[in-house]
Amino acid sequence: MLQAINFALHDAMTEDSKVLVLGEDVGDDEGGGIIGVTRGLTRAFGPKRVRSTPIAEQAIVGAAIGSALCGYRPVAEIMLMNFTTVAMDMIVNHAAKLRFMSGGQTSVPITIRTMTGAGMSNGGQHSDFLEGWFAHTAGLKVVIPSNAADAYGLLRSCIRDPDPCLFVETLPLYWVSGQTIERGGSIPLGKARIAQSGTDVTVASYGRQVNDAVAVARRLSAEGISIEVLDMRTLSPLDTTALIESARKTRRVIVAHEAVQRFGPGAEIAAVIHEALFDRLLAPVRRVGAPFSPVPFSKPLETAYLPGERQIESAVREILKRSGKGA
């Protein structure tokens, strides 16, 4: 996925001279990003379009917003998702709202790239999934790819999009190998993808847990359990049509994500399904998410904290049991 994001930035900058990249360490003199996502961009496009910044998240997002008001398409990197908290005013009060508050006179076509994820021994302030806060903010789009090909295509769409997009990269997915990236294409925002077709249970997910759900689906197919995995790809806008269509078919839905379960995106997704299909469902929607706790450091705790195959499988078995299908 690391390579896919680098290609997407490279191709977007080649295609449109208004595309800029800014953030901490993004320039080649600073190593092309702390793990090399922006490597080679300064050499290809020059230091005017690829600017390393001070460690100053409000200044980074502010500079992105201002340049976007003048027609540029900046891609601002906020190194880790927890650091978006430092720039919440710029993101939530300004980027998200300027179009509306100006009555459509101005727009803020920025992309904020940020990485996160538990499992890297980074502890409580470098690992959180906070996408629910942003999806709760009208005016923002929130995109979370689960694989390299999607990362490429979705990032290209974010950069072209006329609205501010938050693009969340799951850190441990950077190094997943063996995925082919088709350069040049793009994937529309707000359209889910069926990662795996099935008929008994839908697992609606995004990011890393999509891969976990697919693994569970493959494993349980041997027991005759047919799981449909829906990769939402974007949380905002949310593809309610795909959600409801899949739920109507399977009548059992699990929502799985890495964010803390309480008040998490899963609650909204569950509500959408219940509102549309309450009397058609065979069981209430089940949620799989992280415990209501900061991400712990100690390895066994961090492993237990991270929602994955184990939690998804157990949710599948429970929802089937509850709705009277053997498990």
Binding site: K48, G62, I65, G66, D89, G103, G139, T240
Partner: protein, 335 residues
């Protein structure tokens, strides 16, 4: 504008700002319009003097106490009033209100209700000018309270490192909301903070047009020449508190009356006549013309229609959202 003698031009803007502020307070008091209003009375010299140095295509970012900054930059009075009245004919179709006036055609790019947030965005506007070479300068207006917020320090540092064509104009009106300057600020002069960011910093009497004009002209020329940012601290005083109608018991007894006695408006007006820059009749004619324009603007605003309810779902994103108040559908498609 004749740069050699900007005084009448500065007065012209001051007259508009003062008369407009007076009318706003009258209209709010009468109950014809309801809004939180952060009166600008007493602070007219600052944007009047800055704006005569700016070109129409230059940018400003301003704050909730910023209607004077926008009008001085060239915002049409009618559009301002319609916006304040929440009417669809306003700058922002009535969806922004007094704290979010935006009018790119006049260079008014952002008005924010968040203390300290003009500076980081002004940097971005200035960065765009630096990249495109369009020669524009951006002015970020803010108050003394904002100089204690992190965003101020982040933004000044970045503007200096990137040598951006931006001017930071701090209206130091002595109070951050209700808190006296020295209670919340670690330094005697905000302009001294410029030193920490390797940029020129100057404190001027922001109620004295000649001082304010000289500082603004120097800073704007410097920015336009590509020599980087400047911090201007303009000392002033607000005559009608933080938000219009609030209790002023936090001020020292007699302080407000003393400052109102030094009102820069009549003082400057008198000087223009005595120094023969303009006759009494000419100045009266300027004031009367603005009074009429404001009359027309108020009438236009009040006669204009309110926005349709569907405007709630428009301009949230480039593409209008589906749905209605009764049945909100915020997803990508209706179901």
């Amino acid at each position: 504008m004749n740069k050699a003698t900007p005084w009448v031009e500065i007065f012209r803007k001051m007259a508009l700002l003062k008369l407009n502020d007076e009318r706003m307070r009258t209209v709010i008091k009468s109950g014809r319009l309801t809004m939180p209003y952060y009166s600008t009375r007493g602070q007219e010299v600052i944007p009047a003097a800055v704006s005569v140095c700016l070109r129409p295509e230059d940018y400003i970012c301003t704050i909730y106490r910023g209607t004077h900054d926008s009008l001085a930059k060239g915002l049409p009075v009618k559009l301002l009033w319609a916006e304040l009245a929440g009417r669809v004919t306003g700058t922002c179709k009535g969806k922004g209100g007094p704290m979010h006036i935006t009018h790119p055609a006049s260079g008014v790019m952002v008005t924010t209700g968040i203390v300290g947030s003009t500076m980081p965005i002004a940097n971005g506007l200035a960065w765009a000018s630096q990249l495109s070479g369009d020669g524009r300068v951006t002015v970020a207006y803010f108050g003394d309270g904002a100089s204690n917020i992190g965003a101020f320090h982040e933004a000044l540092n970045l503007a200096s490192v990137w040598k951006l064509p931006v001017v930071f104009v701090c209206a130091n009106n002595q109070y951050a909301e209700h808190t006296r300057y020295a209670v919340g600020t670690s330094i005697d002069r905000i302009s001294r903070r410029a030193e920490a960011y390797s940029m020129p910093g100057i404190t001027v009497d922001g109620n004295e047009p000649s001082e304010m004009y000289a500082a603004a002209a120097t800073a704007i020329d410097r920015a336009r020449a590509g020599s980087g940012p400047t911090l201007i601290e303009a000392l002033t005083f607000r005559f009608f508190g933080h938000v219009f109608g609030d209790d002023d018991s936090y001020m020292a007894p007699g302080e407000l009356a003393a400052r109102m006695n030094e009102d820069p408006y009549p003082r400057f007006r008198q000087w223009l006549v005595s120094a023969r820059h303009a006759s009494e009749d000419e100045l009266t004619a300027i004031e009367e013309a603005y009074s009429r324009e404001i009359d027309e603007a108020v009438a236009f605003a009040i006669e204009s229609p309110f926005p349709e309810e569907s405007e709630i779902f428009r301009d949230v994103y480039a593409e209008a959202l589906g749905g209605s108040i009764e049945n909100q559908v915020m997803g990508s498609s209706d179901e």
